[in-house]
Structure formats: structure tokens, C-alpha cells
């Protein structure tokens, strides 16, 4: 096994492209190292991104934020400007592992590990996060919901890696929130999760919304019917019930050691409703 820590994104791309065997990107390593330790995988090449300039930075861009591919979630969660703009995304990132784990764990890694239960992903999807991907054919920008495909599987091509995540400027009167269900209170994996973004007009009517649900399918799901249930309403109880039903209907979970199909379908609706209330309060500036 070879470990490389290149100092340019181009070098990282060529290392990943050239490797004939299994090549893995290491940013925080909080998934990769655990998987290796458990004997789940034996990479031939590990490319550490932490020494590439910019990968550790959070910078303002066009009124939003660009978050480098190796920014630990602890830094994101403590970034005053980011947490003020997207508290729901920061709260999602703050649920990953423990405080110690968050010192290393990155939301880019959380996305690219492609675990359906990734806590930082649904709300990032809901606020329209776009990944900048570097690869042998140059760079491209992709909505992050298009990256995870199935557990452990992404749409990234051979030699590609995510260099940064761009969170666009937040529209006026917009609020976001993320809630997950776990049987404990921390240090656990979501049994169901929901990230939501709601935009209101001056009268308090919902003009835009995006709803993403996690841990209830092979990948994060954007539920358009759920958003439509809110748009044009004052996000009242009837709209919230329709939102919950749409999320429950869209969920395609499995029964496993963490929960049953029925439980996950029902609870993802409950979470959507509760998250929507928080997002609504935030949109109102409460």
C-alpha cells in the first residue's frame, strides 16, 4: 500500500488516474481508516488531500461560501459566517461522530463515502450545494445529490476527486434545518434524516423549498412532491401533513439492524414536519 500526500490538485488527479489498483482519497480518514482497520478494504494507493493549498479553507464567494475538500466539520461548525447563513447544514455536520472525530471528519468525505445515512448531506442538498470536481478532463460543477449513487458508490469517474463544495448565497427570508432519528442521543447513525430549506415572501407564503431525505434509500433523495406540498402555502398544519406524507411515500428504505421499513417511512415524515417548523422559524428570522 502506497501513501501519497501531493501538494497540487493536478498531482492528486494524476496519482489517482495512474493507479491500476484500488485508489482511495483520504481527507479526514474517519471512514477510510476505520474501514481499513476492520478489514473491509485494502487500498493500493491512498491520496491524502490535506496538503493541497485551498483544501483546508472556507472562503466567501459571490455571497456564499466555498468549503475546501479537507475542511474538518469542526471548523465548519465553528465558522461564524457559515453557521449564521446555514445553521441546518452546520447542525448536520455537527452530528457526525463525536467532537474528537469532527476534528478530522470532513463533509466532503461524508458525501463521497456515499453512505445513505450521511448526516451532513441532506441539508447541504436542500440549500443547493454544488461540488467542484477535479479530474483528468479538467473541472466540473455538479449538484451534490448527483454524487452518491449507492452505499459506497459515487458518480465520480476514475481519477476524479471533489476539490470543494460551494454553498450559494442564501436568498432572503430563507431558513434551513436538519433532523435525524437515532435511538440514542449521539454517537450513532441516522435511522432516518431530513434536510429542508424554505423560502418565504413578505406575506409569509412559501415561494421555494427543497427537501432531501437520508437513510431511507440507497442514497439521499430529493423529494419534489414534499417541496410542492409547501410552496404556495403558509406552511400550516395541512401543508406539513402533506409534506410528511410525501416524504414517507418517497422513502424506499430497507429493514436492517437499525430499523424497519415501516418505522423508517413513518419517522422520516415526522422528521420532515419537525424540521420544516424549525426552518420556517428561521426563514421568519425568529
Amino acid at each position: 500500500m502506497r501513501y501519497e500526500a501531493p501538494t497540487t490538485v493536478e498531482a492528486a488527479v494524476s496519482l489517482l488516474s495512474a493507479e491500476a489498483g484500488l485508489a482511495k482519497v483520504l481527507s479526514g480518514g474517519t471512514d477510510l481508516l476505520v474501514q481499513m482497520r476492520m478489514g473491509m478494504m485494502e487500498p493500493d494507493l491512498i491520496v491524502d488531500t490535506k496538503r493541497i493549498p485551498g483544501f483546508g479553507d472556507i472562503v466567501e464567494e459571490n455571497g456564499g461560501y466555498r468549503v475546501g475538500g479537507a475542511v474538518p466539520s469542526a471548523e465548519l461548525n465553528e465558522h461564524a459566517g457559515f453557521t449564521a447563513m446555514y445553521p441546518g447544514v452546520a447542525e448536520g455536520a455537527d452530528l457526525i461522530g463525536s467532537t474528537q472525530v469532527q476534528g478530522r471528519a470532513t463533509i466532503t468525505g461524508n458525501l463521497c463515502n456515499a453512505g445513505p445515512a450521511a448526516d451532513s448531506v441532506p441539508c447541504a442538498v436542500a440549500v443547493g450545494c454544488v461540488a467542484r470536481i477535479a479530474g483528468p478532463n479538467g473541472k466540473r460543477d455538479v449538484a451534490i445529490e448527483d454524487i452518491p449513487q449507492a452505499p459506497g458508490k459515487t458518480s465520480l469517474e476514475k481519477g476524479e476527486l471533489v476539490e470543494s463544495l460551494f454553498f450559494p448565497a442564501k436568498p432572503a427570508n430563507t431558513g434551513d434545518a436538519y433532523l435525524r432519528f437515532i435511538p440514542r442521543t449521539e454517537m450513532d447513525i441516522a435511522v432516518a434524516g431530513c434536510g429542508i430549506s424554505i423560502t418565504l415572501d413578505d406575506t409569509g407564503t412559501c415561494t421555494a423549498a427543497k427537501v432531501a431525505i437520508g437513510a431511507v434509500a440507497i442514497k439521499v433523495l430529493v423529494v419534489d412532491e414534499a417541496a410542492q406540498a409547501l410552496i404556495g402555502t403558509k406552511v400550516d398544519e395541512a401543508a406539513l401533513d402533506a409534506l410528511a406524507s410525501a416524504c414517507s411515500a418517497a422513502a424506499k428504505p430497507i429493514t436492517d439492524k437499525r430499523g424497519t421499513v415501516e418505522f423508517r417511512k413513518e419517522v422520516v415524515g415526522v422528521l420532515a414536519k419537525r424540521a420544516a417548523k424549525i426552518a420556517l422559524d428561521r426563514a421568519k428570522g425568529a
Binding site: M38, G39, F181, P183, R184, T185, E186, M187, D188, I189, V191, D256, K257, R258, G259, T260, E262, F263, E266, V267, V270
Partner: protein, 761 residues
Amino acid sequence: MASSTGEAPESKGTHQYQPRDFKVVGTTPLRPDGVDKVTGRARFGADMNLPGQLVGKVLRSPHPHAKLVSIDTSEAEALPGVKAVVTRDDFAENEAHHDILCNIMARDKVLYEGHAVAAVAATSRAIALKALKKIKVVYDILPHVTDVDEAMKADAPILHDDMFTHGVDPMPTTASNIAGRCEFGHGDVDAGFEQADIIIERNFKTAATHQGYIEPHACVATVTSDDYGELWGCTQGHFVLRNVSASLVGMDVSKLRVTASEIGGGFGGKTTVFLEPVCLMLAKKSGKPVKMAMTRDEVFKASGPTASSSMDVKIGCTKDGRITAGFAEVRYQGGAFRGAPADFGAMCAFACYALENVKAIGWEVVTNRPKGAAYRAPGAPMSVYAVESVVDELAKAIDMDPIDFRLKNAARNGDKSSYGPKFESLGLVETLEAAKNHPNYQIPLGPNQGRGVASGFWFNFGGETCSTLNVNQDGTVAISVGTPDIGGSRASMCQMAAEELGIPYDQVRAIVTDTSSLGFNDTTEGSRVTFSSGMAVIFAAREIIGKLCERAAMMWDIPVEAVKWEEGKAIPAGANAGDFEPLTLAEIADAAGGTGGPIAGHHEYNADGAGVSFGTHLVDTEVDPETGFVKILRYTVIQDAGKAIHPSYVEGQFQGGAVQGIGWALNEEYIYGDDGKLQNAGFLDYRLPVASDLPMIDTVIVEVPNPGHPYGVRGVGETGIVPPLAAIANSVSDAANLRMTELPMSPPRILKAIHQAEAAE
């Protein structure tokens, strides 16, 4: 826990108890091992290293049940860096420890996923792991069974062709997975049910749970070329470990010296032998020291969880709350070998109650799961969960306060226990009264909140024990005990010695010695150490006091009868009173060279009279009706300690038992797939409670002295895990207005039950 002896544990000891005013006992000094533990200096099982040591790793079966056709280790042995490989062929048959032998290294069959098949010692972990992959094992896969009720069926796959149910007359002639049947009770339950106004009958199931100690099993072994062995490791009982390991490896006991490391939790799960004989055999074959440590995955798959259970309980009472009859039938599976604690389950089920008509039947069953191990009051939490759930329901049915209902039926001094012996001295009523008067019992509850109560019992154990006290020349005292300290017992030993000798706590130091420095000591189990080793320390200290008086008499040249010991000093008494200045322990120690040499005390005995222990728990919970999530709002443990030597560590035991019970009740479980494989062999999906799940656990220490101990001590380590399953289930039932009959009460199960209750309305 008297699992190794199964003896009826009601007090038979001589009446040792004498009231006194304590000076050191009952205070809360720092433990001698505390600084090392909080600074990371303490050495646990995996912290011992020897020059030139190899790394040992175990190859484990991927199948839950298979014939072991052949094992070819030749390629592994040929790998550079591999120094030894062991398989079943390296261990001779052993009649005395047959099941342990079959468990540490599979013989004709593998009986569970994770069953050890071979082991290697190599110069690095990577080489050892590579070597494991080169071992060729041919399995003939057999059908498996992991559920207790399934395993009892006539057409179930049979684990052992030679298992014929014990305790059934006549003994069956066909083999089954039912290892044994037992029955306890008295009176006529049928007649009792006829007198009842209300009868409630229910079935319950509980999942297997693991002790969940943070420290994985680990040891280091070395064997000299003339066959003397040394072994360091984490264990609750290094004497038993020595005896079993020496036997399996084919050594005289005197040739093996075992040192117990600091221990990162045991809870009964380290009363066992897993790696140690394998490690010794690898060391013997390689001629080098070998270190082995389990991964967490191995801990879950191959070390002992407790039993899962399936139970039927039927209790009848009159309208005014008098229980007329109680019946329980409990079926426990304890993994692939004999030993499921169904007997303790049956014995403890109704122990809290004075009943005219009671019957409890226990079935001990084997399945294709890892060999179970003791877990804190083994067998009791499940059967008590079932009984206390029905008791709660009866109290509700007749609209009686659940504590009043228990007080009306509670076992008291002189009552015949449900499992046989007559109770001599017990503090159940005191715990119930303290619960009723506790402010937490009066706090108003909000919506979706509920309150639960349950009581529980554990026998406690004495056992073979010896201890030595040495007086140092500067007047300090060194205590040697043979019982590993898993709950702060070294501090308690120092307190009891200081109390007797009349010297300050910080002048006494206790260590756990190796197996070559003391006679045999039973394992740290059965809540026995503060009671048994503590009493040995007290008697050894009294022996020292006699010697100190002799030395003082010699120094003063007066008869020894004319010297008494008071407050750490020898004082001339009787006709000589006032003739000499009192001599301190330090002064006598300093002069000991001229009065006969070193001064030491020793006591060896088989401790009897361990006082029974009862506790009552109060729990408030809130159930989220939309998700089934249970939040523990308040938790109160009230337990009889007899006499709390170190109250903080007694409280720690109460809180620890409650927390393990909370995990067992709410989320912990061994989850098996249809393939017979464990699906959650790690702390991510084996859901122990984390700190943020828990409120501060309130405690009340009740002290009803045990007549069998000089200070009145009762063991406190185990009773704390007996009531929580029931108390939490009762609280959840109260909060959600339903009855949960299956543990764990995980959110999917609760939400399902809520919907079923809604549908039924």
C-alpha cells in the same frame, strides 16, 4: 454470583456483626489506583510487553454450525515470520474442562460464528493476519439455530449428540438442545390461582446482551524451555484462570504464575478463559513470549454475552392486593455450551415476595451462539423483568399504588424464600419504604411521561479467600489480596484495615498479588470481594493486633493479657494501667527486629454468610408518541448495602447497574440474521447508552446490617442490574399506556406497539 458452585446462598455464617462507631469505614477517600487510571499510567491487559514478543491472532469460523473436516496449516507455517500455529491437535482431551477446551479451540465441530479454529504467532500483526488467510479449513456446513424457542423444538438442529436433558426424570434417551430443567417453589399454585380475584398471564422475550466492558480481552504469555509459564492479562479471577489454563496446556499449577492486570471492566464477562491457554500454547511452541488481544469484533462474536430468554409468567391476587399464587417458566439460551443461568432466573423470579404458592421452572438451552458468560446477577434481570411487569399490571388492575402492592407482599425476616431457604435478615421493605418517601416519587408527570417501579434480588456469594497483611518497619501496612479489583475494592480493603488497626487510611496500601504469592482465591464475582476479602483483611488485621499487643507486652515486660489495643496504640491495662506510655503501631514496628522480627497477619477461609441483597428502582420516562423514542427523565436506585464501606463506590455500583439495565431495556441486543451470523458486532450498532442518554442516577444507600459480617457488609455489585429492565418497562407502559413484553424496547418496537394499541381501541 455463585454460578461456579450453584450453592444456596442464604446466610449460614456465624453471627459476626457487632455495631461500632466507625472512623474510616463510611468515609470516601481516593482509591489507590485512581491517579494511575486518570493519567493513563495504569497498565491494562494489553499494556504489558516483553522483549521479543510475538503477536498472536485467532482464525475464527465464518459459519454458525459446521463439522470441522480438516485444517491444513502448512502454508501458514511456511510463511516467513510465523513462529507457531496451533489447532485442536495441540490440546489433549480434558474431561474436567471439556466445554472450555471445545470453546477455546473447536474440535469436531464449530458451534457458532466466531468459534476459534486455529491460532498463529508471528513477528508482526500483518504477518499473523496474512498467515490466518493461508490456513485451509474444510467445513461441512450444518443447519443452525439461534433462537431459544426454536432450539427447544424436536426438529431443531442438534448441537451436541451427547446432550440429554438433566433434571428430567427419567432422563431422555434422545439428544436435544435442552441441557437441563430445574424447578423451585412451594405450596400449590393451582389452589392459589383458584383463590385469586384477578389473574394476569403474559409471555416475555429478552435479547442477549453483552457485558460491554471497554477493555477487550488481552494477555501476554511466556513459557521457559523447562516448561515454567508466566501470564499477564485482564481477568476477574487469576487463580481460576491459572488452574484452567494449566490444565488445558498440560502443566502443573505450580508451574504457571498468573498476574492480573488492571481491568477495564468485567461485569462477569472476565470470569472466563478464552485466549489464555491458546496464548500459552503459542508461547510454548514458539519458545517466545506471545501477546494476544481481541478486536472488538472478536469480543462480540467470541466472548460471552448473557442469555436471551423467552418466559411465561402467571400471577394471581385478591382484590385487596394479596398475591395468591405465582408461576413462572423461563427458557434461557446461553450459547453453544451448557451454562445458561436459567436456574438463577427461576430462583430469583419471585424472591422479593412472601408467597404461599409459588413455582418457577427453568430451562437451560444451547444454540449456535457464543458461549455465554456471567453478566452481573446472571439470569436474574430477565425473570424479574417478567414477574415485576405482571406485578405492575396487577397493581394497576386493582388501582393500588405499586409500592404499596409490593409492601403488602414483600419478603420479610423469617419468611420462606421462593427458592427454598428461609430469609434471615433482609432489607427489601426498607428499600420500598425509602422509595415511597423519596421526593422523586412525588414529582408531577407531564404528557407522555410515566413512572415505573420495580424491586429485585440477588443472592451474593462468599467463597474461598485468603489475604495477608504485612506491617512495614515504618509502621505502614501492606495488604495482599487475591481478588482482582474491578470496583474500587483496594480502597475498601485499606479502609477496613485502617479501621481495625486504628491508623490513617493513607498508611495502608493494598495490591492484588499474583497466583504464586497467596493461596487460592475464588474469582471476583458474586459481589463477594468487599464481603469476603474484606472480612479476611479484618481478621488478618485482628491477628496483627494480637501480635502487636504481644510485642508491646514484651517491650514492657508485662503479661500480654494486660495489654489492650485502642485507637492505633498498645495500652497497658488492668493492674498496669498508666504504668507505661502507650506504644503506637509505628513504634512497635520500628522495634520489631528486637522483639521477634517481622509482623504479619493472614487469614484464609471459605467465606460463608454473604447477606442477601434487595433493591428498588424508580424511573420516570417520556415516550415520543411519533417516533417511539424513550427518554429517561429521572432514575433512582435504592438498595440495601448492609454497611457501605466506601459510599461513593457503592453509589458507583448502583449507578453502573442501573445504566447497564437502561441499555438492556432500551436498545442493546445481539441481532442475528437468518444466516446465523451476528449483524452488529461493534459499538456502533450494539447500542450501549452513551453519557448524553442518561440523567444523573440518584441513589439511596439503605443499611440493614448483614449478620454474617463484622461490619454488616452485603455485596452491592449485582443487585443494581436486577430491577431496571422491569422498572423501565413499567415506566414506558405508564407513559404510553401499553405493555411492552419484549426487550429491548427499541423505538421501532414501541412505535409498532403504539399503533397496535391505537388499532385496538
